[in-house]
Protein backbone atom coordinates (compact mmCIF):
# COMPACT_ATOMS: atom_id res chain seq x y z
CA UNK A 1 0.00 0.00 0.00
CA UNK A 2 2.73 2.46 0.86
CA UNK A 3 4.59 1.55 -2.29
CA UNK A 4 1.51 2.12 -4.35
CA UNK A 5 0.90 5.46 -2.79
CA UNK A 6 4.44 6.61 -3.43
CA UNK A 7 4.04 5.69 -7.06
CA UNK A 8 0.94 7.72 -7.50
CA UNK A 9 1.93 10.73 -5.45
CA UNK A 10 3.81 13.02 -7.73
CA UNK A 11 7.26 14.03 -6.64
CA UNK A 12 7.06 17.74 -6.07
CA UNK A 13 9.81 19.48 -7.93
CA UNK A 14 11.79 22.30 -6.38
CA UNK A 15 10.53 25.36 -8.27
CA UNK A 16 6.95 24.22 -7.80
CA UNK A 17 7.42 23.80 -4.07
CA UNK A 18 9.12 27.13 -3.83
CA UNK A 19 5.97 28.69 -5.23
CA UNK A 20 3.91 26.78 -2.71
CA UNK A 21 6.20 28.02 0.03
CA UNK A 22 5.91 31.62 -0.91
CA UNK A 23 2.18 31.36 -0.80
CA UNK A 24 1.96 29.49 2.47
CA UNK A 25 0.46 31.72 5.14
CA UNK A 26 2.85 30.61 7.84
CA UNK A 27 5.88 31.44 5.80
CA UNK A 28 4.53 34.84 4.88
CA UNK A 29 3.67 35.79 8.44
CA UNK A 30 7.02 34.63 9.73
CA UNK A 31 8.88 36.38 6.97
CA UNK A 32 7.02 39.61 7.53
CA UNK A 33 7.79 39.54 11.22
CA UNK A 34 11.49 39.01 10.81
CA UNK A 35 11.62 41.60 8.07
CA UNK A 36 9.87 44.11 10.28
CA UNK A 37 12.28 43.49 13.11
CA UNK A 38 15.27 43.75 10.86
CA UNK A 39 14.03 47.00 9.40
CA UNK A 40 13.32 48.26 12.86
CA UNK A 41 16.89 47.71 13.84
CA UNK A 42 18.53 48.86 10.65
CA UNK A 43 16.43 51.74 9.40
CA UNK A 44 14.67 52.70 12.60
CA UNK A 45 17.26 55.17 13.73
CA UNK A 46 16.73 57.13 10.55
CA UNK A 47 13.18 57.82 11.59
CA UNK A 48 14.00 58.21 15.22
CA UNK A 49 17.35 59.92 15.36
CA UNK A 50 17.97 59.94 19.05
CA UNK A 51 21.25 58.88 20.50
CA UNK A 52 20.74 55.85 22.69
CA UNK A 53 23.99 55.99 24.54
CA UNK A 54 23.91 59.47 25.96
CA UNK A 55 21.88 60.63 28.85
CA UNK A 56 18.80 62.28 27.50
CA UNK A 57 16.33 62.62 30.27
CA UNK A 58 15.64 61.77 33.84
CA UNK A 59 16.36 58.15 34.73
CA UNK A 60 13.64 55.53 34.77
CA UNK A 61 10.84 57.50 33.30
CA UNK A 62 7.86 55.50 32.07
CA UNK A 63 6.81 55.75 28.42
CA UNK A 64 5.56 59.13 27.37
CA UNK A 65 5.04 61.00 24.17
CA UNK A 66 8.55 62.35 24.31
CA UNK A 67 10.12 59.02 25.11
CA UNK A 68 7.88 56.31 23.63
CA UNK A 69 9.63 53.63 25.60
CA UNK A 70 10.72 55.67 28.54
CA UNK A 71 14.26 55.94 29.84
CA UNK A 72 16.56 53.50 31.54
CA UNK A 73 18.43 53.87 34.80
CA UNK A 74 21.04 56.03 33.15
CA UNK A 75 18.46 58.31 31.63
CA UNK A 76 18.94 57.01 28.12
CA UNK A 77 16.15 56.73 25.58
CA UNK A 78 15.00 53.14 25.62
CA UNK A 79 13.42 53.13 22.18
CA UNK A 80 16.63 54.29 20.57
CA UNK A 81 18.54 51.81 22.66
CA UNK A 82 16.17 49.08 21.54
CA UNK A 83 16.88 49.82 17.91
CA UNK A 84 20.60 49.67 18.30
CA UNK A 85 20.30 46.63 20.51
CA UNK A 86 18.11 44.85 17.99
CA UNK A 87 20.55 45.55 15.23
CA UNK A 88 23.49 44.19 17.16
CA UNK A 89 21.65 41.17 18.46
CA UNK A 90 20.32 40.28 15.03
CA UNK A 91 23.80 40.64 13.70
CA UNK A 92 25.17 38.30 16.34
CA UNK A 93 22.30 35.91 15.75
CA UNK A 94 22.84 35.72 12.01
CA UNK A 95 26.56 35.44 12.37
CA UNK A 96 26.24 32.65 14.91
CA UNK A 97 23.80 30.77 12.72
CA UNK A 98 26.00 31.25 9.68
CA UNK A 99 29.10 29.99 11.48
CA UNK A 100 27.31 27.03 12.99
CA UNK A 101 25.69 26.10 9.69
CA UNK A 102 28.95 26.43 7.80
CA UNK A 103 30.91 24.32 10.25
CA UNK A 104 28.12 21.77 10.40
CA UNK A 105 27.84 21.42 6.66
CA UNK A 106 31.59 21.14 6.20
CA UNK A 107 31.92 18.62 9.00
CA UNK A 108 29.08 16.46 7.73
CA UNK A 109 30.24 16.69 4.12
CA UNK A 110 33.82 15.75 4.97
CA UNK A 111 32.61 12.97 7.18
CA UNK A 112 30.45 11.46 4.48
CA UNK A 113 32.75 12.16 1.56
CA UNK A 114 35.86 10.66 3.03
CA UNK A 115 34.65 8.23 5.64
CA UNK A 116 37.22 6.23 7.53
CA UNK A 117 39.37 8.05 10.02
CA UNK A 118 38.02 11.45 9.05
CA UNK A 119 34.55 10.23 9.86
CA UNK A 120 35.67 8.76 13.16
CA UNK A 121 37.39 11.92 14.29
CA UNK A 122 34.50 14.14 13.34
CA UNK A 123 31.98 11.84 15.00
CA UNK A 124 34.05 11.86 18.15
CA UNK A 125 34.17 15.64 18.18
CA UNK A 126 30.43 15.77 17.65
CA UNK A 127 29.78 13.36 20.50
CA UNK A 128 31.97 15.39 22.79
CA UNK A 129 30.25 18.63 21.90
CA UNK A 130 26.88 17.07 22.41
CA UNK A 131 27.67 15.70 25.81
CA UNK A 132 28.77 18.98 27.32
CA UNK A 133 25.99 21.54 27.50
CA UNK A 134 26.77 24.11 24.86
CA UNK A 135 25.92 26.97 27.17
CA UNK A 136 28.50 25.84 29.65
CA UNK A 137 31.11 25.31 27.00
CA UNK A 138 30.43 28.67 25.43
CA UNK A 139 30.65 30.23 28.84
CA UNK A 140 33.98 28.68 29.62
CA UNK A 141 35.48 29.59 26.30
CA UNK A 142 34.07 33.10 26.37
CA UNK A 143 35.46 33.62 29.82
CA UNK A 144 38.97 32.68 28.89
CA UNK A 145 38.92 34.39 25.53
CA UNK A 146 41.43 37.19 25.43
CA UNK A 147 39.43 39.40 23.11
CA UNK A 148 35.80 40.15 23.72
CA UNK A 149 33.85 41.43 20.78
CA UNK A 150 30.56 40.50 19.22
CA UNK A 151 32.30 38.64 16.47
CA UNK A 152 34.11 36.57 19.03
CA UNK A 153 30.88 35.83 20.83
CA UNK A 154 29.29 34.75 17.58
CA UNK A 155 32.31 32.58 16.91
CA UNK A 156 32.09 30.95 20.30
CA UNK A 157 28.35 30.38 20.11
CA UNK A 158 28.50 29.18 16.55
CA UNK A 159 31.50 27.02 17.24
CA UNK A 160 29.72 25.17 20.02
CA UNK A 161 26.26 24.82 18.55
CA UNK A 162 26.83 22.94 15.32
CA UNK A 163 27.14 19.42 16.68
CA UNK A 164 23.52 18.27 16.69
CA UNK A 165 22.93 19.68 13.24
CA UNK A 166 26.05 18.04 11.85
CA UNK A 167 25.04 14.67 13.22
CA UNK A 168 21.56 14.89 11.68
CA UNK A 169 22.96 16.12 8.40
CA UNK A 170 25.52 13.35 8.32
CA UNK A 171 22.83 10.75 8.89
CA UNK A 172 20.72 12.14 6.07
CA UNK A 173 23.66 12.32 3.71
CA UNK A 174 24.58 8.75 4.51
CA UNK A 175 21.12 7.50 3.68
CA UNK A 176 21.16 9.57 0.51
CA UNK A 177 24.38 7.94 -0.49
CA UNK A 178 22.58 4.70 -1.11
CA UNK A 179 20.12 6.30 -3.48
CA UNK A 180 20.24 5.54 -7.17
CA UNK A 181 20.88 8.97 -8.50
CA UNK A 182 24.05 9.18 -6.46
CA UNK A 183 25.27 5.93 -7.87
CA UNK A 184 24.62 7.19 -11.34
CA UNK A 185 26.84 10.17 -10.74
CA UNK A 186 29.51 7.98 -9.30
CA UNK A 187 29.40 5.73 -12.33
CA UNK A 188 29.61 8.81 -14.52
CA UNK A 189 32.89 9.55 -12.85
CA UNK A 190 32.08 12.62 -10.81
CA UNK A 191 34.51 13.34 -8.04
CA UNK A 192 33.32 12.85 -4.48
CA UNK A 193 33.21 16.53 -3.67
CA UNK A 194 31.19 17.23 -6.78
CA UNK A 195 28.70 14.55 -5.89
CA UNK A 196 28.29 15.97 -2.45
CA UNK A 197 27.83 19.49 -3.67
CA UNK A 198 25.70 18.94 -6.73
CA UNK A 199 23.61 15.93 -5.90
CA UNK A 200 23.29 15.68 -2.17
CA UNK A 201 23.06 19.23 -0.95
CA UNK A 202 19.89 20.19 -2.82
CA UNK A 203 18.14 17.23 -1.28
CA UNK A 204 19.04 18.31 2.22
CA UNK A 205 18.74 22.03 1.50
CA UNK A 206 15.48 22.24 3.39
CA UNK A 207 17.05 20.71 6.49
CA UNK A 208 19.97 23.11 6.33
CA UNK A 209 17.75 26.13 5.91
CA UNK A 210 15.54 25.07 8.80
CA UNK A 211 18.53 24.68 11.07
CA UNK A 212 19.91 28.05 10.05
CA UNK A 213 16.61 29.75 10.75
CA UNK A 214 16.27 28.09 14.12
CA UNK A 215 19.78 28.86 15.16
CA UNK A 216 19.50 32.59 14.70
CA UNK A 217 17.35 32.66 17.77
CA UNK A 218 19.86 30.50 19.62
CA UNK A 219 22.53 32.99 18.77
CA UNK A 220 20.53 35.88 20.12
CA UNK A 221 19.58 34.04 23.27
CA UNK A 222 23.15 32.87 23.73
CA UNK A 223 24.39 36.41 23.42
CA UNK A 224 21.88 37.54 25.98
CA UNK A 225 22.89 34.74 28.30
CA UNK A 226 26.54 35.63 28.11
CA UNK A 227 25.81 39.30 28.63
CA UNK A 228 23.62 38.61 31.59
CA UNK A 229 26.40 36.63 33.16
CA UNK A 230 28.74 39.50 32.67
CA UNK A 231 30.63 38.23 29.65
CA UNK A 232 29.62 41.00 27.33
CA UNK A 233 32.06 42.70 25.00
CA UNK A 234 33.78 45.80 26.15
CA UNK A 235 32.03 48.04 23.72
CA UNK A 236 28.84 47.86 21.81
CA UNK A 237 25.27 47.58 22.85
CA UNK A 238 22.87 44.70 22.42
CA UNK A 239 19.61 43.35 23.72
CA UNK A 240 21.58 41.20 26.10
CA UNK A 241 23.16 44.26 27.60
CA UNK A 242 19.73 45.77 28.05
CA UNK A 243 18.76 42.73 30.10
CA UNK A 244 21.98 42.78 32.03
CA UNK A 245 21.82 46.44 32.88
CA UNK A 246 18.18 46.36 33.83
CA UNK A 247 19.20 43.71 36.32
CA UNK A 248 22.30 45.32 37.74
CA UNK A 249 20.85 48.79 37.93
CA UNK A 250 17.78 47.51 39.69
CA UNK A 251 15.51 48.30 36.76
CA UNK A 252 13.48 45.19 37.34
CA UNK A 253 13.00 45.75 41.00
CA UNK A 254 11.98 49.30 40.43
CA UNK A 255 9.34 48.23 37.98
CA UNK A 256 10.79 49.73 34.82
CA UNK A 257 9.08 47.18 32.61
CA UNK A 258 9.61 49.31 29.51
CA UNK A 259 13.27 48.56 29.81
CA UNK A 260 13.38 44.80 29.89
CA UNK A 261 10.09 43.71 28.38
CA UNK A 262 10.64 45.05 24.84
CA UNK A 263 14.00 43.33 24.30
CA UNK A 264 12.45 40.05 25.40
CA UNK A 265 9.55 40.61 23.06
CA UNK A 266 11.91 41.17 20.19
CA UNK A 267 13.75 37.93 20.88
CA UNK A 268 10.50 36.06 21.23
CA UNK A 269 9.17 37.50 17.99
CA UNK A 270 12.32 36.45 16.20
CA UNK A 271 11.94 32.98 17.67
CA UNK A 272 8.31 32.74 16.65
CA UNK A 273 8.93 34.02 13.15
CA UNK A 274 11.72 31.50 12.69
CA UNK A 275 9.46 28.75 13.97
CA UNK A 276 6.75 29.71 11.51
CA UNK A 277 9.17 29.79 8.62
CA UNK A 278 10.72 26.48 9.62
CA UNK A 279 7.44 24.65 9.93
CA UNK A 280 6.25 26.08 6.62
CA UNK A 281 9.41 24.88 4.90
CA UNK A 282 9.25 21.53 6.61
CA UNK A 283 5.67 20.92 5.60
CA UNK A 284 6.29 21.64 1.97
CA UNK A 285 9.60 19.96 1.48
CA UNK A 286 9.05 16.97 3.67
CA UNK A 287 6.38 14.91 1.95
CA UNK A 288 5.78 12.69 4.94
CA UNK A 289 4.18 15.55 6.77
CA UNK A 290 1.71 16.53 4.10
CA UNK A 291 -1.84 16.22 5.28
CA UNK A 292 -4.09 13.95 3.30
Amino acid sequence: MKYMMSMTIKKVKIPESLQLLLRAPRFLIGFVIILAIALFGLIGPIFYPKDPLSTAGRPLMPPSSEYPLGTDALGRDVLAALMIGTRTSLYVGFLTAAIATLIGVIAAALSVAFGGIVDDIITAIISFLLSVPSTLLALIIAFYAPVKSYEVIALVLGGTGWAGFARGLRARLLSLREEDFINMSRVAGYSTIRIVLEDMLPAVAAYIVIFFAGHIDNGMVGEATLSLLGLQPSKGYSLGIMFSQSNTYGGIRRGAWWWFVPPGLIIMLVAISMLLISTAIDEIFNPRLRKA
Binding site: M1, Y3, M4, M5, M7, T8, I9, K10, V12, E16, L20, R290, K291, A292
Partner: protein, 340 residues
Protein backbone atom coordinates in the same frame (compact mmCIF):
# COMPACT_ATOMS: atom_id res chain seq x y z
CA UNK B 1 -21.37 -24.06 1.70
CA UNK B 2 -22.66 -20.80 2.99
CA UNK B 3 -21.43 -17.33 2.45
CA UNK B 4 -19.33 -15.79 5.14
CA UNK B 5 -18.38 -12.56 3.45
CA UNK B 6 -20.04 -10.69 0.65
CA UNK B 7 -18.54 -7.59 -0.89
CA UNK B 8 -20.65 -5.78 -3.44
CA UNK B 9 -19.61 -2.92 -5.69
CA UNK B 10 -17.16 -1.66 -3.15
CA UNK B 11 -15.41 1.61 -3.90
CA UNK B 12 -12.74 3.04 -1.67
CA UNK B 13 -10.43 5.80 -2.78
CA UNK B 14 -7.43 7.56 -1.28
CA UNK B 15 -7.92 11.27 -1.12
CA UNK B 16 -4.82 13.37 -1.43
CA UNK B 17 -4.61 17.12 -1.44
CA UNK B 18 -1.76 18.40 -3.50
CA UNK B 19 -1.33 22.12 -4.09
CA UNK B 20 -4.93 22.72 -3.18
CA UNK B 21 -6.39 20.14 -5.54
CA UNK B 22 -8.11 16.94 -4.51
CA UNK B 23 -6.77 13.81 -6.13
CA UNK B 24 -8.67 10.53 -5.94
CA UNK B 25 -6.53 7.42 -6.07
CA UNK B 26 -8.98 4.72 -7.09
CA UNK B 27 -7.40 1.80 -5.31
CA UNK B 28 -10.56 -0.25 -4.87
CA UNK B 29 -12.95 0.48 -7.71
CA UNK B 30 -16.18 -1.45 -7.86
CA UNK B 31 -14.98 -4.74 -6.40
CA UNK B 32 -17.23 -7.74 -5.98
CA UNK B 33 -16.07 -10.66 -3.89
CA UNK B 34 -17.67 -13.57 -2.06
CA UNK B 35 -16.06 -15.85 0.45
CA UNK B 36 -17.76 -19.04 1.56
CA UNK B 37 -17.04 -20.89 4.75
CA UNK B 38 -13.91 -23.02 4.74
CA UNK B 39 -12.74 -21.62 1.47
CA UNK B 40 -9.29 -20.32 0.70
CA UNK B 41 -9.65 -17.44 -1.70
CA UNK B 42 -6.58 -16.05 -3.38
CA UNK B 43 -6.35 -12.46 -4.56
CA UNK B 44 -3.55 -12.08 -7.05
CA UNK B 45 -2.08 -8.98 -8.57
CA UNK B 46 1.05 -6.95 -9.11
CA UNK B 47 2.31 -4.46 -6.59
CA UNK B 48 0.31 -1.31 -6.82
CA UNK B 49 -2.90 -2.87 -8.05
CA UNK B 50 -4.74 -2.13 -4.86
CA UNK B 51 -4.55 -5.49 -3.12
CA UNK B 52 -3.44 -4.20 0.26
CA UNK B 53 -6.03 -1.48 0.10
CA UNK B 54 -8.59 -4.17 -0.59
CA UNK B 55 -7.45 -5.91 2.58
CA UNK B 56 -8.12 -2.75 4.53
CA UNK B 57 -11.39 -2.26 2.76
CA UNK B 58 -12.53 -5.77 3.61
CA UNK B 59 -11.85 -4.94 7.22
CA UNK B 60 -13.74 -1.70 6.65
CA UNK B 61 -10.72 0.21 7.94
CA UNK B 62 -11.64 3.49 6.35
CA UNK B 63 -9.41 6.01 8.02
CA UNK B 64 -7.88 9.01 6.28
CA UNK B 65 -6.53 9.13 3.66
CA UNK B 66 -8.62 6.11 2.65
CA UNK B 67 -12.25 6.94 2.24
CA UNK B 68 -15.27 4.73 1.73
CA UNK B 69 -17.15 5.82 -1.35
CA UNK B 70 -19.91 3.31 -1.97
CA UNK B 71 -20.79 -0.37 -1.94
CA UNK B 72 -21.15 -2.85 0.89
CA UNK B 73 -19.14 -5.24 2.98
CA UNK B 74 -21.38 -7.79 4.66
CA UNK B 75 -20.00 -10.29 7.12
CA UNK B 76 -21.87 -13.18 8.69
CA UNK B 77 -20.77 -13.24 12.31
CA UNK B 78 -20.14 -16.38 14.28
CA UNK B 79 -23.48 -15.94 15.98
CA UNK B 80 -25.23 -15.91 12.62
CA UNK B 81 -26.03 -12.20 12.45
CA UNK B 82 -25.22 -10.26 9.33
CA UNK B 83 -23.01 -7.23 9.95
CA UNK B 84 -22.73 -4.39 7.50
CA UNK B 85 -19.13 -3.51 8.18
CA UNK B 86 -19.05 -0.34 6.14
CA UNK B 87 -21.67 1.15 8.39
CA UNK B 88 -20.05 0.33 11.70
CA UNK B 89 -17.98 2.81 13.64
CA UNK B 90 -14.33 2.18 14.15
CA UNK B 91 -14.90 1.56 17.80
CA UNK B 92 -17.54 -1.09 17.10
CA UNK B 93 -15.30 -2.74 14.57
CA UNK B 94 -12.46 -2.98 17.04
CA UNK B 95 -14.55 -4.41 19.76
CA UNK B 96 -16.70 -6.87 17.91
CA UNK B 97 -15.19 -7.61 14.54
CA UNK B 98 -11.46 -7.13 14.27
CA UNK B 99 -9.53 -10.09 15.59
CA UNK B 100 -12.45 -12.22 16.69
CA UNK B 101 -14.59 -12.39 13.58
CA UNK B 102 -12.12 -11.33 10.96
CA UNK B 103 -8.42 -10.98 11.47
CA UNK B 104 -5.71 -9.51 9.31
CA UNK B 105 -2.23 -10.92 9.22
CA UNK B 106 -0.56 -7.86 7.79
CA UNK B 107 2.29 -7.58 5.38
CA UNK B 108 4.44 -6.19 8.14
CA UNK B 109 3.62 -9.04 10.50
CA UNK B 110 7.27 -9.23 11.40
CA UNK B 111 7.03 -5.86 13.06
CA UNK B 112 3.53 -6.28 14.34
CA UNK B 113 4.53 -7.24 17.86
CA UNK B 114 5.35 -4.52 20.35
CA UNK B 115 9.09 -4.83 20.65
CA UNK B 116 9.46 -4.17 24.31
CA UNK B 117 6.98 -6.59 25.78
CA UNK B 118 7.23 -10.29 26.27
CA UNK B 119 4.97 -12.34 24.05
CA UNK B 120 2.97 -13.73 26.92
CA UNK B 121 2.12 -10.18 27.94
CA UNK B 122 0.99 -9.32 24.42
CA UNK B 123 -1.19 -12.43 24.35
CA UNK B 124 -2.73 -11.57 27.70
CA UNK B 125 -3.50 -8.03 26.56
CA UNK B 126 -5.17 -9.31 23.42
CA UNK B 127 -7.23 -11.85 25.33
CA UNK B 128 -8.27 -9.35 27.94
CA UNK B 129 -9.40 -6.95 25.26
CA UNK B 130 -11.84 -9.47 23.90
CA UNK B 131 -12.87 -11.76 26.71
CA UNK B 132 -13.80 -11.58 30.34
CA UNK B 133 -12.28 -13.64 33.11
CA UNK B 134 -9.02 -14.41 31.43
CA UNK B 135 -6.73 -16.63 33.43
CA UNK B 136 -3.10 -16.31 32.61
CA UNK B 137 -2.24 -19.94 33.21
CA UNK B 138 -4.87 -21.27 30.86
CA UNK B 139 -4.18 -18.71 28.20
CA UNK B 140 -0.46 -19.34 28.18
CA UNK B 141 -1.03 -23.05 28.10
CA UNK B 142 -3.34 -22.82 25.12
CA UNK B 143 -1.01 -20.44 23.37
CA UNK B 144 1.97 -22.70 23.86
CA UNK B 145 -0.02 -25.60 22.51
CA UNK B 146 -0.91 -23.70 19.38
CA UNK B 147 2.61 -22.43 18.94
CA UNK B 148 4.03 -25.85 19.27
CA UNK B 149 1.57 -27.28 16.79
CA UNK B 150 2.85 -24.84 14.20
CA UNK B 151 6.43 -25.68 14.92
CA UNK B 152 7.58 -22.95 17.27
CA UNK B 153 9.67 -23.79 20.33
CA UNK B 154 7.86 -24.13 23.61
CA UNK B 155 9.44 -21.19 25.39
CA UNK B 156 8.47 -18.68 22.74
CA UNK B 157 5.85 -17.26 25.08
CA UNK B 158 8.47 -15.94 27.44
CA UNK B 159 10.59 -14.30 24.82
CA UNK B 160 10.71 -10.77 23.56
CA UNK B 161 9.75 -10.37 19.91
CA UNK B 162 13.14 -9.11 18.90
CA UNK B 163 14.70 -12.34 20.08
CA UNK B 164 12.95 -14.28 17.35
CA UNK B 165 13.66 -14.41 13.64
CA UNK B 166 11.37 -12.80 11.09
CA UNK B 167 9.74 -16.04 10.10
CA UNK B 168 9.16 -17.03 13.70
CA UNK B 169 7.53 -13.70 14.45
CA UNK B 170 5.28 -14.15 11.49
CA UNK B 171 4.19 -17.50 12.84
CA UNK B 172 3.64 -16.05 16.29
CA UNK B 173 1.25 -13.57 14.70
CA UNK B 174 -0.50 -16.43 12.96
CA UNK B 175 -0.71 -18.21 16.29
CA UNK B 176 -2.22 -15.11 17.90
CA UNK B 177 -4.87 -14.99 15.23
CA UNK B 178 -5.54 -18.67 15.76
CA UNK B 179 -6.17 -18.08 19.43
CA UNK B 180 -8.96 -15.70 18.58
CA UNK B 181 -10.52 -18.15 16.16
CA UNK B 182 -11.91 -15.77 13.55
CA UNK B 183 -14.13 -17.06 10.79
CA UNK B 184 -12.02 -15.25 8.21
CA UNK B 185 -8.30 -14.74 8.24
CA UNK B 186 -6.89 -12.28 5.74
CA UNK B 187 -3.26 -12.90 4.96
CA UNK B 188 -1.69 -9.92 3.19
CA UNK B 189 1.52 -10.91 1.42
CA UNK B 190 2.52 -13.42 4.09
CA UNK B 191 5.38 -14.75 2.02
CA UNK B 192 6.87 -11.66 0.44
CA UNK B 193 9.63 -10.78 2.81
CA UNK B 194 10.76 -14.34 3.39
CA UNK B 195 13.19 -16.71 1.80
CA UNK B 196 11.83 -19.75 0.00
CA UNK B 197 12.25 -22.25 2.80
CA UNK B 198 10.58 -19.99 5.34
CA UNK B 199 7.84 -19.36 2.80
CA UNK B 200 7.05 -23.04 2.73
CA UNK B 201 6.90 -23.17 6.50
CA UNK B 202 4.55 -20.21 6.71
CA UNK B 203 2.27 -21.59 4.02
CA UNK B 204 2.15 -24.89 5.83
CA UNK B 205 1.35 -23.07 9.05
CA UNK B 206 -1.55 -21.28 7.44
CA UNK B 207 -2.93 -24.51 6.09
CA UNK B 208 -2.46 -26.26 9.42
CA UNK B 209 -4.34 -23.56 11.25
CA UNK B 210 -7.25 -24.04 8.93
CA UNK B 211 -7.12 -27.79 9.08
CA UNK B 212 -7.11 -27.75 12.85
CA UNK B 213 -10.12 -25.51 12.80
CA UNK B 214 -8.65 -22.39 14.30
CA UNK B 215 -9.76 -20.28 11.37
CA UNK B 216 -12.69 -20.79 9.03
CA UNK B 217 -11.93 -19.23 5.67
CA UNK B 218 -8.81 -17.58 4.44
CA UNK B 219 -8.32 -14.70 2.06
CA UNK B 220 -4.81 -14.95 0.69
CA UNK B 221 -3.50 -11.79 -0.92
CA UNK B 222 -0.26 -11.97 -2.82
CA UNK B 223 1.60 -11.28 -6.02
CA UNK B 224 3.25 -14.67 -5.95
CA UNK B 225 1.10 -17.04 -7.95
CA UNK B 226 3.31 -19.96 -7.04
CA UNK B 227 2.66 -19.51 -3.35
CA UNK B 228 -1.06 -18.87 -3.79
CA UNK B 229 -1.48 -21.88 -5.99
CA UNK B 230 -0.34 -24.13 -3.21
CA UNK B 231 -3.16 -23.36 -0.89
CA UNK B 232 -5.91 -21.34 -2.57
CA UNK B 233 -8.99 -23.04 -3.87
CA UNK B 234 -10.14 -20.05 -5.88
CA UNK B 235 -8.26 -17.28 -7.63
CA UNK B 236 -9.32 -13.67 -7.99
CA UNK B 237 -7.10 -11.60 -10.20
CA UNK B 238 -6.92 -7.93 -9.39
CA UNK B 239 -5.73 -5.24 -11.74
CA UNK B 240 -5.75 -1.47 -11.23
CA UNK B 241 -8.34 -1.56 -8.51
CA UNK B 242 -10.69 -4.01 -10.17
CA UNK B 243 -11.22 -7.75 -10.17
CA UNK B 244 -10.72 -8.96 -13.72
CA UNK B 245 -11.05 -12.70 -13.40
CA UNK B 246 -12.31 -15.27 -10.95
CA UNK B 247 -11.86 -19.03 -11.23
CA UNK B 248 -11.05 -22.23 -9.32
CA UNK B 249 -7.31 -22.58 -8.94
CA UNK B 250 -6.40 -25.46 -11.18
CA UNK B 251 -8.77 -24.43 -13.96
CA UNK B 252 -7.26 -20.99 -13.77
CA UNK B 253 -3.70 -22.23 -14.01
CA UNK B 254 -4.54 -24.55 -16.87
CA UNK B 255 -6.45 -22.02 -18.89
CA UNK B 256 -6.53 -18.42 -17.80
CA UNK B 257 -9.04 -16.33 -19.69
CA UNK B 258 -8.09 -12.73 -19.11
CA UNK B 259 -5.03 -11.57 -21.07
CA UNK B 260 -3.50 -10.15 -17.93
CA UNK B 261 -3.91 -13.47 -16.15
CA UNK B 262 -2.13 -15.38 -18.84
CA UNK B 263 0.70 -12.89 -18.84
CA UNK B 264 0.96 -13.24 -15.07
CA UNK B 265 1.15 -16.99 -15.22
CA UNK B 266 3.64 -17.13 -17.98
CA UNK B 267 5.90 -14.63 -16.27
CA UNK B 268 6.53 -16.89 -13.37
CA UNK B 269 8.83 -19.80 -13.93
CA UNK B 270 7.55 -22.74 -11.98
CA UNK B 271 10.60 -24.28 -10.41
CA UNK B 272 9.12 -27.73 -10.30
CA UNK B 273 8.21 -27.56 -13.98
CA UNK B 274 11.64 -26.31 -14.90
CA UNK B 275 13.28 -29.14 -13.07
CA UNK B 276 10.91 -31.65 -14.57
CA UNK B 277 10.87 -30.52 -18.13
CA UNK B 278 14.30 -28.97 -18.24
CA UNK B 279 15.33 -25.54 -19.31
CA UNK B 280 13.65 -25.62 -22.71
CA UNK B 281 10.19 -25.21 -21.30
CA UNK B 282 11.26 -22.13 -19.42
CA UNK B 283 12.68 -20.50 -22.51
CA UNK B 284 9.52 -21.09 -24.43
CA UNK B 285 7.03 -19.84 -21.94
CA UNK B 286 8.78 -17.14 -19.96
CA UNK B 287 7.69 -13.66 -20.83
CA UNK B 288 7.56 -10.75 -18.52
CA UNK B 289 4.53 -8.56 -18.26
CA UNK B 290 5.42 -5.51 -20.32
CA UNK B 291 4.72 -2.01 -19.17
CA UNK B 292 3.98 -0.72 -15.71
CA UNK B 293 0.82 -0.73 -13.62
CA UNK B 294 -1.36 2.27 -14.36
CA UNK B 295 -1.58 5.40 -12.29
CA UNK B 296 -4.58 4.82 -10.08
CA UNK B 297 -5.26 8.52 -9.83
CA UNK B 298 -5.80 8.69 -13.56
CA UNK B 299 -6.54 5.21 -14.78
CA UNK B 300 -6.84 4.49 -18.50
CA UNK B 301 -10.27 4.85 -20.08
CA UNK B 302 -12.35 1.83 -20.86
CA UNK B 303 -10.68 -1.41 -19.87
CA UNK B 304 -7.82 -0.48 -17.61
CA UNK B 305 -5.56 -3.10 -19.06
CA UNK B 306 -5.87 -2.02 -22.68
CA UNK B 307 -2.52 -0.15 -22.90
CA UNK B 308 -0.65 -3.33 -22.04
CA UNK B 309 -3.00 -5.83 -23.65
CA UNK B 310 -1.80 -7.62 -26.77
CA UNK B 311 -5.41 -8.21 -27.81
CA UNK B 312 -6.73 -4.71 -27.28
CA UNK B 313 -9.62 -3.75 -29.54
CA UNK B 314 -11.33 -0.42 -30.11
CA UNK B 315 -14.12 -1.19 -27.70
CA UNK B 316 -11.55 -1.87 -25.02
CA UNK B 317 -10.35 1.70 -25.21
CA UNK B 318 -13.85 3.11 -24.99
CA UNK B 319 -15.84 1.06 -22.54
CA UNK B 320 -15.17 -0.90 -19.41
CA UNK B 321 -15.96 -4.58 -19.93
CA UNK B 322 -18.61 -6.09 -17.66
CA UNK B 323 -17.91 -9.09 -15.47
CA UNK B 324 -19.53 -12.03 -17.19
CA UNK B 325 -20.16 -15.56 -16.18
CA UNK B 326 -18.25 -18.10 -18.28
CA UNK B 327 -18.70 -21.79 -17.60
CA UNK B 328 -20.02 -23.07 -14.32
CA UNK B 329 -18.00 -21.05 -11.84
CA UNK B 330 -15.68 -18.77 -13.74
CA UNK B 331 -15.97 -15.04 -14.26
CA UNK B 332 -14.08 -12.72 -16.54
CA UNK B 333 -14.18 -9.01 -17.34
CA UNK B 334 -12.90 -8.82 -20.87
CA UNK B 335 -14.42 -7.82 -24.20
CA UNK B 336 -12.89 -10.83 -25.84
CA UNK B 337 -15.50 -13.01 -24.25
CA UNK B 338 -18.54 -10.84 -24.65
CA UNK B 339 -20.76 -12.22 -27.36
CA UNK B 340 -22.26 -9.60 -29.62
Amino acid sequence: MSEVLRIENLKAYYIQILAGKKIYVKAVDNVNLTVRSNEIVGIIGESGCGKSTLARAILADFSPPLQYISGSVILRAKNGKELELHKLSRDMLRRYVWGVEMALVPQFAMNALTPTLRIRRIIMDIMKSHFENVEEEKVVERASKIFQSIGLPGDVVDRYPFELSGGMRQRVVLGLVAMLGPSIMIADEPTSALDVSTQKIVLKTILDLKKQGYVGSIIFITHEIGAARQIATRFNVMYAGKIVEEAPTEEFIEKPYHPYSSLLIRSIPDVAEVLYYGGSRMKKEFTSVAGAPPNLAEPPTGCRFHPRCPYAMNVCRREEPPMIHIESNRFVACWLYVKK
